[in-house]
């Protein structure tokens, strides 16, 4: 077996292992015979463990070859005329370390959740969604074509929304899940259109035809116009998952989900999915200064927004959510500035710290008491906050803006409510028309 064949097999394992776990626990659940708690956690854990070990082995091989990228041409999914949907994966200096980190984190959270969700009614559902997320994440990270990337991106979005609404009996959780899904879905337009532009330009979704895959020194193979168009669309797509202004208000509410999923989604992996996609397409961004400028502006504004609003939150998970948003925004700024390795390291470092903080958040008071006991008292003020340098009236204004979350929700609500009201009127008019036509006075007959 050649080195290429071995890497190909290992990459397939990284993808297939969590997918197999998903099938192994999903199919019995669908047939009304779900596995027991212990078996469920073990199967999913084994899937992540296999994926993680395969990723470590791939990383070792890549290090030995000086991070020479390996393209894995798995199959052509389907082909119609000039439109070709391929399943091409890439093992390079970006994807393989990222899979190691993401699969390893999923494995850890899997172990944590097995205990944390013991006897929870939705135990199996949680692990099905975790396995779907892990599969989607690996698909997205290893993708060497926009089609595969989009498939992974969708799996991440759907599993994320469903886990926010995990405690479905709580109205707030359900509303938060719908808000997150709506935001994702709107921003998905960017990636859908980017996919179409890529197909139209190079005849397939393969990244190889768009840019050289020698990350982080890839070269752009398309015109500056195409690079700018695709980059702008990808920037738009990444705004939703990275919770950037004006799409940030779903993030604090997303903490309605179980703690383990909050940690892995909004502290570690899902929140950085947009940044990963932009890093993957860095060669296009390099040739799209407008997109980079936009990234810096939006990222900067979101970082300030997150930092300000986070300071006035009164519950720990919201504070952590805004802290995540701030760091994710800074990562986007770094990408916009043209840096490559620094944002990648920032992603990994931030993800590890934040997921630990979120996982420990249910024990925050206990941790605080331990800290104070160890220090022999209150740890003292946390340092200088620049807003305190402002004159008092300005401080009050900033405080009010932060308390109202930058009025972001109010503006969005106004923008959305008018078309929704019009639609409701249209629906009422439809019902009246049908009732009149059917010779009825009310909303029309109905039965089951």
């Amino acid at each position: 077996m050649t080195g290429h064949d071995l890497i190909q097999s290992l990459v397939v394992i990284q993808l297939a292992a969590p997918a197999a776990a998903l099938v192994a626990i999903g199919v019995p659940a669908l047939l009304g015979r779900p596995l027991g708690e212990r078996a469920t956690a073990h199967v999913v854990g084994a899937g992540f463990a296999a994926g993680f070990l395969a990723a470590i082995a791939t990383l070792a091989m890549l290090v030995g070859r000086g991070f020479q990228p390996e393209i894995v041409h798995l199959a052509t999914w389907f082909e119609v005329g000039h439109h070709e949907a391929t399943i091409h994966l890439v093992a390079d200096a970006l994807s393989v370390p990222y899979v190691c980190f993401s699969t390893g984190l999923c494995w850890l959270v899997n172990a944590f959740a097995g205990k944390y969700l013991h006897r929870e009614p939705g135990f199996t559902r949680f692990f099905i969604l975790l396995a779907l997320f892990g599969t989607g994440m690996n698909l997205m990270v290893l993708a060497d074509s926009i089609d595969v990337l989009f498939a992974g991106w969708e799996c991440v979005g759907i599993s994320s929304a469903l886990l926010i609404g995990f405690f479905h009996e709580r109205g707030n959780a359900v509303r938060a899940a719908l808000r997150a899904f709506t935001t994702y879905r709107i921003c998905d337009v960017g990636i859908l259109l980017a996919s179409v532009v890529i197909h139209r330009t190079v005849g397939s979704g393969d990244f190889e035809r768009l840019f050289g895959t020698n990350w982080p020194a890839g070269t752009c193979l398309v015109s500056a116009g195409t690079a700018t168009a695709v980059s702008l669309l990808l920037v738009f797509a990444s705004l939703g998952k990275t919770a950037q202004v004006p799409f940030s208000n779903w993030l604090p509410r997303a903490m309605e989900g179980p703690t383990p999923s909050s940690a892995i989604f909004y502290g570690a992996l899902s929140i950085h999915a947009g940044a990963y996609v932009l890093l993957r397409c860095e060669a296009l961004l390099e040739n799209a200064p407008v997109a980079r400028l936009l990234l810096v502006l939006i990222g900067g504004a979101s970082a300030v927004h997150g930092a300000l609003v986070g300071r006035v939150q009164t519950d720990l998970k919201s504070v952590l959510a805004y802290a995540s948003m701030t760091q994710a925004s800074l990562i986007l700024v770094e990408i916009g500035l043209g840096w490559r390795v620094i944002p990648l390291m920032h992603v990994v470092g931030h993800a590890i710290v934040r997921s630990l903080q979120i996982l420990r958040s249910p024990s925050a008071l206990h941790d605080r008491h331990e800290l104070e006991a160890a220090l022999g008292g209150h740890p003292g003020p946390s340092g200088l906050w620049p807003v305190s340098l402002l004159p008092a009236p300005w401080q009050h204004a900033v405080y009010r803006i932060a308390l109202e979350r930058g009025y972001e929700e109010m503006v969005i609500a106004r923008l959305v409510s008018t078309p929704l009201r019009l639609l409701e009127r249209a629906a009422v008019a439809e019902r009246r028309w049908i009732a009149w036509l059917g010779g009825e006075s009310g909303d029309g007959g109905r039965r089951s």
Partner: protein, 483 residues
């Protein structure tokens, strides 16, 4: 009888005959009253046999050199028996939808009349897909509308819906008769056609719009879903008889895409977006399904107006994927309603606790409807978006808008129905084995073709070329005979 290629008729025709005849035999058995205790079995077996025979028709058609079966005199471009790849694909699909409906139908509505109506309606619908004869299409339009109207009329509380359906279908049939007559007199697929042929095309286009529930002739769609039995609504809408008629009578003009088809496509685009937007604000589960079905089925017409095989391929894939997914959603909702009554979307209903299996299935069908990766609708969406954008940028953007709105609407509906605190005294409802079988088969089809779409997409690619006349005509095949 011949296949148009000199091949033995024995290869394809028997399977076509069994496909159409099996439901008729079932209807006869049901009508005799001898199977009073086994009416569901009669319905399931006869439509199941039809499904299998339909699948065999595809296999036999693929084994033949030209992928085409024709018989009967050529009449103004049509043949009495005309089975191409598109028609063949629609046979098992329609029969499968009917089988699933028969399996899930609540016991209280399974009686001799309903089973007879269902099987006769199925046979008539299948007969539509094996002809390209204009007069036969007109007759079958009338025959296929009958069971829906009769079933709705006898359903308690559905008098209004029956009346709305009757009004719209009468208009559709009048347009269809007038349009077909004019097309026969002055065929637009010949370069010498004049004003009569053009007018005929427009009449047929209006008939198709009405029968497909295209804006502004869409009101019967939500009325039927809200008022009639779910089985009636699904059987009337999911086979998409009108889309097939559009393929046979409007696609493949001598001068390329006819203006009436372009207009049809524009209205269909508006319907796809409007239906998806309406689905967002529906107050009842039935209303939501009606709006979603309206939006999804309109996408089929969007693709049909394309000049590229990819667009038609996308349209055919959407035809099957949205049909299976909407049927799944409809049947899960029906099962849910039959246990716990009508479902409002105005507040959180909290049904997860008492029907977790149905919640899971609803979610899977919902995801399959909006393009979850790994389902056929993901592939279909990719093809139709790419095809539309290749042809017209604005059309592609509207298709994307419709997809996005449908996604949000499906998720909202799922959370409204299954989310929220459950009533503590509500009993826990399991899922019956027959329901599980039906829904699992539909899901399996959606996922199997989604994970391994190659064969289906290639098959529909050949079907699209056949419809557009792109492929070289096989010996003995008249280019204008099927369009």
């Amino acid at each position: 009888m011949n296949t148009g290629l000199g091949e033995p008729v024995a290869m394809i025709a028997p399977w076509v005959a069994i496909t159409v005849a099996a439901p008729l035999v079932g209807a006869l058995v049901a009508a005799t009253g001898r199977a009073a205790g086994r009416l569901r079995a009669v319905a399931v077996v006869s439509s199941g046999v039809s499904t299998l025979a339909g699948a065999m028709t595809i296999a036999a058609l693929e084994a033949s050199a030209g992928g085409l079966l024709t018989w009967g005199p050529a009449f103004e471009g049509g043949r009495l028996l005309y089975v191409d790849r598109l028609g063949a694909a629609l046979l098992p699909y329609t029969a499968l939808v009917s089988t699933a409906i028969a399996l899930v139908a609540p016991q209280r509505i399974v009686d001799t009349d309903s089973v007879r109506r269902m099987l006769v309606g199925l046979a008539a619908t299948l007969a539509v897909f094996v002809t390209s004869h204009p007069l036969a299409l007109v007759v079958l339009w009338i025959v296929t509308a009958q069971p829906t109207w009769r079933s709705t009329r006898v359903t308690p509380g559905a008098g209004g819906a029956a009346r709305v359906f009757a009004i719209y279908m009468s208009a559709a049939l009048a347009c269809m008769v007038a349009g077909t007559a004019l097309l026969v007199v002055d065929p637009p697929w010949q370069r010498t056609s004049g004003a009569l042929g053009t007018a005929g095309g427009w009449f047929v286009a209006v008939a198709v719009m009405i029968r497909k529930g295209i804006v502004p002739f869409h009101s019967w769609y939500p009325a039927l879903f809200s008022g009639a039995l779910m089985s009636t609504a699904l059987r009337a809408t999911q086979p998409q008889v009108a889309a097939y008629t559009a393929v046979r009578l409007l696609v493949g003009h001598a001068d390329g895409v006819g203006p009436e088809l372009v207009a049809l496509s524009c209205f269909a685009l508006a319907t796809a977006v409007y239906g998806a937007a309406l689905a967002l604000v529906q107050r009842t589960l039935r209303g939501f399904i009606g709006a979603l079905a309206m939006s999804q089925s309109a996408l089929v017409l969007v693709g049909l107006s394309g000049t590229l095989p990819m667009e038609l391929n996308g349209a055919f894939c959407v035809w099957i994927s949205s049909g299976l997914a909407i049927t799944g959603i409809g049947l899960v909702s029906w099962a849910l309603e039959s246990r716990a009554g009508a479902i409002s979307l105005e507040t959180l209903q909290g049904r997860f606790q008492d029907a977790p299996a149905l919640a899971g299935l609803f979610l899977l069908f919902g995801m399959a409807a909006i393009g979850l990766p790994g389902t056929l609708s993901f592939v279909a969406g990719d093809l139709i978006v790419s095809g539309s954008l290749d042809d017209h940028l604005a059309a592609g953007v509207l298709v994307i808008a419709s997809t996005v709105l449908c996604g949000i609407a499906v998720m909202r509906c799922w959370f409204q129905v299954f989310g929220g605190p459950s009533a503590t005294d509500s009993p826990r409802h399991g899922i019956l084995p027959r329901e599980r079988v039906a829904l699992t088969v539909l899901l399996a089809a959606l996922f199997a073709f989604g994970i391994w779409p190659g064969p289906l997409v290639r098959f529909f690619g050949r079907a699209a070329e056949q419809v557009l006349g792109v492929s070289p005509s096989p010996p003995g095949f008249e280019p204008d005979s099927g369009r």
